[in-house]
Amino acid sequence: MSILPYNSLMQLKIPSHSCAKTTRKSFSICARLDNSQQEEQQLNLSVLRFTFGIPGFDESYLPRWIGYGFGSLIVLNHFAFSNSVTSAQLRSEVLGLSLAAFSVTLPYLGKFLKGASPVSQKSLPESGEQIFVMSQNISDALKENLAWATYVLLRNTNSISVLISIRGELCVRGYWQTPDGASKTQLLEWFERQIENIGLSDLKDSLYFPQSADAGQWEMLPKGTCSVFVQPVIQAPNPSAVEVEKIEGFVLLASSMTYAYSHKDRAWIKAVSNKFRDLR
């Protein structure tokens, strides 16, 4: 009886000793042992991770810097240190420069892989101040829900600003580029006009601008906005009645990072916006 577990232990030991060819395999065995011992484990595992150990220094951008550095060294070598350039050298240099260009794009490609976490933290804009305004004549329940939802969205996503519009009532929180010295009611009217101009209340599908080029045109967004996500709040249809799905409002989020909202973030934002679906 007791021989059996002994055997299985032995079996585990043997592969790790023949390490010449199977170094990767021993890494993965270590990983599996780690898994069963640690309870709180992320879905992504890093077994082989190169790091300088300098806090705040992100190693995933290292290929980019190496690409720039070595590429410039190749160019320097070509112009400064060679008297006559043979065709063989030219071929080497072309190969080197294309490899350098490839290295430079590697961090950009790596951002989209599964399990990649965003490398930069959101940065707060230097200009502009934080505001928190809410429409006046709304029920207490709606006020509480708006306050909670805006708070949670700012805390839990990479956003610096949030705007929720439900059936014409607004709640705005975070950094916005608003006209100076306006009172709360004037601010609310100003936001309503901005929304009217863009036509955000008539959105039926969610909009995601991961890079600033498209969304930066909206006047009210703070300087330095890099991604914007708009999620409309649609009233759930009554399956028995033949009714048109009514648009109740939308939730708008802006962030100072590019590609700020992952698939999962957007799913959670949609879940939070569904809270307002049938709220009176």
């Binding site: 890494f27 069963s36 309870e39 709180e40 879905l43 992504n44 595992l45 890093s46 082989l48 991770r49 190169f50 290929p63 190496i66 690409g67 070595f70 070598n77 070509h78 240190f81 060679s82 043979t86 063989a88 050298q89 071929r91 080497s92 190969l95 080197g96 490899l99 350098a100 490839f102 290295s103 590697l106 490609l109 989209f112 892989l113 599964k114 399990g115 990649a116 509480e144 909670w148 949670v152 805390r155 839990n156 036509g199 955000l200 008539d202 959105l203 995601y208 991961p210 498209d214 969304a215 909206w218 759930a236 048109v244 799905e245 698939h263 999962k264 799913a267 959670w268 879940a271 049938d278």
Partner: protein, 294 residues
């Protein structure tokens, strides 16, 4: 035991069409006829299709090994270049040809190493284990509508976004909600009912209440306190125990080992706070209703 019994009703609630986990597909809309508001439509910019992101995300494995192939091919190309041009493949930095070659080789090695790092950080895909049990939708009938809709919203969000398949909410010693998959009692087809008083005496509940922090049991099968949660399906893979303030607990069962990410955990913590705020407002009403319900 409190005086009187609490009636639990199966929720007379048609489950709404569950919204798909992939948020980019939405239900179709019927074009509305002209209403009193101006339906001029959205006039802002439309996001452009991000071809690179889409390509990388759909060919994840191939992209991870791409730098290795590129680096390997470049190393071979450098050697080939040397042999073709008749220069001996000797690595010294004396001639500019060698220097150019060395730089190209270093770049190729960087590329190979990046590819190896990408391969090693590939997330393990873990299979979903379908919970064994019965579907159950039980809710305390004395709750006001707003509380019911909030609890149901919490369930809808969790089941649509995370790997949650069961949700149980116990507050103030009374079990308020049991929804999703539940363990079957005997072979009756009925769900095992939550015994709130027994749960409150168990070490799982006491531990969570004492620490006032969320507890994530990422692999439930390894956890000995499993027996204190008999109402969850026996093959529930992961459980999050979220305290609701000082008085309640939400037990969230998932179908994947380590299926709840840190982002899910922080969202669940915030939802727990909101539920606590809502339930605390009504907790003084519920016990008095229990008395009347005798």
């Amino acid at each position: 035991m409190e005086a009187g019994t609490i009636f639990y009703s199966a929720i007379p609630w048609k489950p709404k069409r569950p919204f798909p986990r992939n948020p980019s597909s939405f239900p179709r809309f019927i074009r509305a006829s002209a209403s009193s508001q101006s339906q001029r439509g959205y006039r802002g910019p439309k996001p452009s299709k991000d071809l690179v992101a889409d390509w990388v995300m759909s060919n994840d494995d191939a992209v991870r090994s791409l730098p290795i192939y590129v680096g390997g091919a470049s190393l071979l190309a450098v050697l080939f270049n040397r042999t073709v041009s008749g220069i001996a493949p000797v690595a010294d930095a004396s001639s500019s040809q060698s220097r150019a070659d060395l730089l190209a080789i270093s770049l190729a090695v960087t590329s190979i190493l990046t590819g190896l790092v990408w391969l090693s950080i590939r997330p393990k895909s873990i299979t979903v284990v379908n919970p064994k049990g019965v579907e159950c939708q039980m809710i305390c009938s004395y709750l006001p509508d707003s509380v019911v809709s909030e609890l149901l919203w919490a369930w809808e969000s969790l089941s649509a976004v995370t790997c949650c398949r069961s949700l149980v909410v116990v507050y103030d010693g009374i079990y308020l909600l049991q929804i999703g998959m539940a363990a079957e009692s005997g072979n009756s087809g009925e769900a095992v009912i939550v015994d709130a008083s027994k749960l409150k005496q168990g070490s799982v509940y006491l531990g969570v209440m004492r620490s006032k922090a969320q507890r994530y049991l990422a692999n439930l099968l390894l956890y000995p306190g499993r027996s204190e949660l008999p109402f969850l399906p026996s093959n529930t893979q992961a459980v999050i125990l979220q305290p609701l303030g000082d008085k309640g607990i939400a037990i969230i069962g998932g179908d994947t080992i380590r299926g709840f990410t840190t982002s899910d955990q922080s969202w669940i913590a915030f939802i727990g706070e909101k539920l606590d705020a809502t339930l605390a407002k009504y907790s003084n009403i519920v016990p008095s209703m229990v008395q009347e319900g005798i």
